[in-house]
Symmetry: C2
Subunit: 227 residues, 2 copies
Amino acid sequence: MERIEIFKQAELFRSLDDETLRLLSERAIEKRLERNEILFLADDEAKGLYLIAEGAVRAFRTGHDGREQIIHIERAVATIAELPVFDDGKYPSTVAAEEPTLLYFLDKNEMRRRCFEHPQIALSAAALFARRLRGCAELVEMLTLREVSQRLARYLFEQAQETGEPDGNGAIRFKQNLTHNQLAARIGTVREVVTRSFYRLQNQRLIETRNKDVLIYDLQALAAYFD
Amino acid sequence: MERIEIFKQAELFRSLDDETLRLLSERAIEKRLERNEILFLADDEAKGLYLIAEGAVRAFRTGHDGREQIIHIERAVATIAELPVFDDGKYPSTVAAEEPTLLYFLDKNEMRRRCFEHPQIALSAAALFARRLRGCAELVEMLTLREVSQRLARYLFEQAQETGEPDGNGAIRFKQNLTHNQLAARIGTVREVVTRSFYRLQNQRLIETRNKDVLIYDLQALAAYFD
DNA sequence: TCCGAACGGTGACAAAAGTCACGATTCATC
DNA sequence: GATGAATCGTGACTTTTGTCACCGTTCGGA
């Protein structure tokens, strides 16, 4: 696929005309990451933003013990590390690849110039940031005001809505592909507690797990559990 | 003071010309809040944004038990609830006054029109959101990866930097005006644990509290404690 | 198909956080 | 200065979370 076609799919660039897109995409520098390879570290000097053309990345913070807390995940086609373009600060979190990933790097000064020429970029960025802020506020609430099994319930609820398939008698089924470690990094805990939280939800008859499948009997009941 | 002079001080409007500012400020609807009065609730239908002309507000989320977690505080002159202007969603958190507060309300549709006429607003908004996102990511890290006394240490550290005065022999002193309950809502815990965390820090010889005063012997040591 | 690494389950335990009750102190205001 | 409300200190306790060790299972390449 043409670079320009990829760029057009990113929320940040959706509103741009082909000519500008071509300019942008021609200057972009390609970069490939393997699974778990780190793109940059939190507080690194920020040189620009990245467009994710294939694959997915996670943005996270690390504690002393090395425990990770994921802030958000972005998958192709999307951008990451846009903040420094607008406030000239450092990278706000560490970013690593969730899977083999193809990225295009865009210099922040060039991006800034494009923003003045094409204010729609700033509007898109504002909308993008707005969504992120919502997610982040939600995350804060979950982390500090709910307990782990509620956070897990919420995660499963969202997965069910995104990828769930009806399973006869009103239940919903979906594949749970993350390891307990990955799950833990998302909901703010550790592996063992994830295991035990799954049991809690099973004992409450809210879910059933078989292999990598999760079966949710009643979405409403699950929502009621965490909300 | 003239409304327009106040508006000009808000980051969001700083780049606007006087004529536009006049238009905006003339349409704004005044609103006064007493201490702890609620402006709107999280998930309320968003009608527009507010400019804080005097006073300060807190944006927070509430748990079932009524416990509050503050996401951020904004004090005059600043804006709040700008998100819905850019992504048309609901209010992302509950907002209440920290002290008697004077606000000006601006309709979101009008704001949106102004954004198209004056793209600098979108750029300012992007910069503003960028700063908020940094704060929020930081908050997530603190809440989930550090323990309470570290979070308290960090809060005191920041206060020391903002309002601290040197106190002879290299120490720094400042007034701690918040109640333990308010403090708890900021650092994500409850009153009693705040009390005990203060003791921890004292026992570690990192701080000394006398009345409402906090004395920090060594800022670096305090920073090392939480970082 | 075999092997080593990654992953998941589990018990025992430690530590942190939260809850409750109650009394002492401080504060705001009359 | 008196007084009621808000705030703070504190001990005893429960719950949740995190840690550690260990073992069986699964998975992904050679």
